[in-house]
Subunit: 133 residues, 2 copies
DNA sequence: CAATTCATGTTACACAATAACATATCAGGC
DNA sequence: GCCTGATATGTTATTGTGTAACATGAATTG
């Protein structure tokens, strides 16, 4: 029943910690810069770690930003679909899931014989705290 | 009542026609290569045309592919949300919209005071025609 | 210990997008 | 007609994002 958090390698740990420290999404190159002192020298070191972390479900990729965030809900890999509300002013990302949307997308896919491998749902806009009034 | 299809400039027309001819999404650089004979020399010529076409609603951007498609449904800009089912095998893109998902996202946003500016819904997977059996 | 597998390091490159600046075209007002 | 402001275009250079190819190192297993 315990969510098996796989043992992370040194690089995976470094990248994951960098994302966990950050209060918003980071680009691969920003991560690289933050990890220079830890011996990181090339983008591939970041991308390889990210690939694994994505596979483990510990990290999400925000397609519309070309950036990455640590998963906010450790058990969210139960859900087929994870949505993100991304504030374009402060950069905060709010992670959510919704069964209705999930079902709706699933039945849409099934009706067309489409087999989804990955689902992306991203809202770009302005969060409550950043709104004018 | 007629959908005002704005007059396109020469470059906008060329880019739009290239996307309309294609049977799938094209990257900006692929478009550039196709339009070399028409005098295109730099990425900016493509990106500037794409920006306008996106604003007109004649073209969509697929965030998860960094690519662009001509809008399949000329009047789809009525919808706040447009979804895409993208086949990773054949590259075909199926454009859809769904009021239930739209409503659900809208009420989610409203509940949190989030004001969405752009909504991305993309399914990556395999279409019926490309499936094994 | 050999063989395999997986993680890592490094260089170079390809693809995606924009900055900055110059020129041209076209509309309306005088 | 001509000035003027707005929009479209052309060009060079640069930044940002991601991968190919190849070599090395470390761990697991038979």
């Amino acid at each position: 029943m315990t969510a098996e958090t796989p043992d992370l390698t040194k690089n995976q740990r470094l990248v994951f910690d960098a994302l966990s420290r950050a209060d918003g999404p980071l680009s691969a190159y920003t991560i690289l810069d933050q990890l220079r002192d830890d011996g990181f020298r090339a983008p591939l070191q970041v991308y390889r770690a990210l690939d694994k972390l994505l596979a483990f479900g510990l990290v999400h990729r925000l397609e519309s930003l070309n950036a990455f965030v640590a998963c906010a809900h450790p058990h969210c890999h139960r859900h087929a679909m994870i949505g993100f509300a991304i504030c374009e002013t402060c950069g905060q990302v709010d992670e959510f899931s919704d069964e209705v949307i999930e079902d709706r997308l699933a039945s849409f896919a099934q009706a067309r014989g489409f087999v989804p491998a990955k689902t992306t749902v991203e809202l770009r806009g302005q969060c409550a705290r950043c709104r004018p009034n």
